[in-house]
Symmetry: C3
Subunit: 274 residues, 3 copies
């Protein structure tokens, strides 16, 4: 928390979780600082925290907007934690996948205004998290990238990842991006509409809170009904297929060939670190 206070001395911390801190920056606006070292991987534990935090904020009627950002350097979120899908029991994989679904359902269907302050790289599940928000501001640093790169790991983004991306950048761009597992530079992401705005790295969070002001000017009930109208069909598709989607994931991820791919990927990450 000290660390957060050093960075944002004016922010009042309203809730602290193991992997994140919720701070209040101004009337009605919370900021979720993800701090799950080293790269904010979306582990089962982390996702559980995120969902509890989001639920609390959703019930707090004084909270109208949420900024999601990272306290880790260079990364927004590295996406789903592979350690929760590698060498784990089918039961564990199922529990993990339900948590991923829950995170998506809560964010994509949030009544709050949600803005992603993408202050670092954001592959796979990190990209998904940012796409669930109402607006995406990314640091204009060419070393960062964003995209759903699952195929490069030999795995497949599920239909609701795909639907979220189609809703964001359209069918054709999604088709090519998902097949090739493309990671976009900030400039490319802006061009295809995967992010809405690029700013200097040290301006990401302040721009997010300034942008929030514009969204807060809209009467909540009208904005919420409108948001729901836009997103409900996509949300309903998962809601009515959650169990089949879990079974599908477990069956796929526990395959020998897929486990082998994940193992090789983890080895590669280790070598890169060393």
């Amino acid at each position: 928390m000290q660390k957060l206070h050093r960075r944002f001395p004016d922010a009042a911390i309203t809730a602290a979780f193991k992997w994140m801190i919720i701070a209040s920056v101004s009337a009605g606006v919370a900021v979720m600082h993800m701090q799950s070292p080293p790269v904010n991987s979306l582990s089962l534990e982390f996702l559980t925290d995120v969902c509890i935090a989001l639920e609390k904020l959703e019930m707090d009627k004084s909270c109208r907007g949420l900024v999601v950002t990272s306290s880790q350097p260079k990364v927004f979120s590295a996406g789903l934690d592979i350690l929760d899908m590698y060498g784990k029991s089918p039961e564990h994989c199922a529990e993990f996948w339900k948590a991923v679904q829950e995170m998506w359902l809560k964010f994509y269907g949030s009544d709050m205004i949600t803005i992603a302050a993408v202050n670092g790289s954001s592959p796979a599940g990190g990209c998904l998290l940012s796409m669930t928000c109402d607006y995406r501001i990314m640091a204009d640093n060419p070393r960062y990238s964003i995209g759903l790169n699952e195929t490069k790991l030999g795995i497949v983004a599920p239909f609701w990842f795909k639907d979220t991306m189609v809703n964001t950048v359209g069918h054709r761009t999604t088709e090519m991006a998902l097949q090739l597992g493309l990671l976009y530079s900030p400039a490319e992401a802006l061009k295809i509409g995967l992010v809405d705005q690029l700013v200097r790295e040290d301006q990401v969070l302040t721009t997010a809170t300034e942008t929030m002001t514009k969204w807060l000017a809209i009467p909540d009930h009208a904005r919420q009904l409108t948001k729901s109208m836009m997103r409900k069909p996509t949300i309903d598709k998962l809601t009515s297929n959650r169990e089949a989607d879990v079974n599908n994931f477990v069956k796929f991820i526990t395959k020998d060939s897929i486990q082998k791919s994940l193992g090789m990927y983890l080895e590669m990450l280790k070598r890169r670190k060393a």
Copy 2:
């Protein structure tokens, strides 16, 4: 009518309604000049006239194209008439909403080539009307704006307004535009595809009739079948839900909180005028 003749001395007036004049500019092409002072609000009376006029033109097999434009200065249409939703009985609101639906169904499903000559601002229902047309030409005057700004008034664009906009500018742009109630300048509207072409203000109508020539070169039956194929799913969604949509509107618009919002908005308009 004198006024119209001063503006378009060559146009033969073929039908005159209380709130609009239908002129014939060339073989097979009619122009609907909306003139419901001061801002072409889409009142129940006005909508009824529009529907009767459109029905007549549709049955007149010699009429293949229709240009819609405004005879009022600075405005194409200010959108739905709030006086038909404020302080009115549920029955009146229901009748009004049926007329709005009817207008949309007739325009969006028209067998004629329809071109909007947007020679002024076009918020809310005015934007909807222009989006039902096959092509939109707007005056390149930065003081004009166009968009579905319902949320700013605390109300919500219904699903078929939303569907029409998604069909025009895509899902993501619609999601943000509707949530924020965005009004776009002509240049911005061109960029997102909300209008197809910008021309000097005094060229809007002539460009519309020139553009019409290009569309008239296509065999009617092939063009009509193609247009229907593109729009039928969207039209069917409303056709099979008209009554529920009316009930939904009446229930929403007669709420105390919404009536209060509308009242405040009307007060604001009065003050602005004074």
Copy 3:
């Protein structure tokens, strides 16, 4: 074959059909050279060959990618062969249409990576063929054009042509393109996303094989599942409506008025040639 060898001396011909040659350019990549003089019209005979060739390639597990290109000068494919719809029995028209459907189903649903090397004009069915591929590279020659121009001939692109185009360039662009039967220059096609890349005419095929390398880097099973997820809903729509779609086509195309239009078009083509 001699002719092909003169053009691509390094290519090993792996299969020769009456109207096309399949060559192997590198490990796992085949090139389909269409050579049905003069303009690669998609006749019943040609389509039958294409489907047999594609089926064989699909079953050959060593073949992972397919480039489709033309051996005819100035044209990729002129589209459906009008001689198979003009003055023919309803039975013949039905058989022809089934072959068109089959071609589309096989290409749009192909497990292989498919790249269109559009080295010439590509109207109507030629445009459709290129749109079924995963990537489109076009020769940057302003004399070439591409688009679904059916309405200009008085006929109508069926719903699955339309769906393919909507998936490629979006709803609004498709609505206008199909109504007006627009043919786009390479530069315009790139701008609306109808093709993905423009290169010098003599670089089309080499760029296609270079691009293929990028796609081959993705694990097949992940790419195939992703491709299927993107395209299955569109494919299912035709699969479950094939017979109705055939009947619809036969009923439409055998109409006196449509036959007359096709006859006039054929006369015009003859005069143009003379």
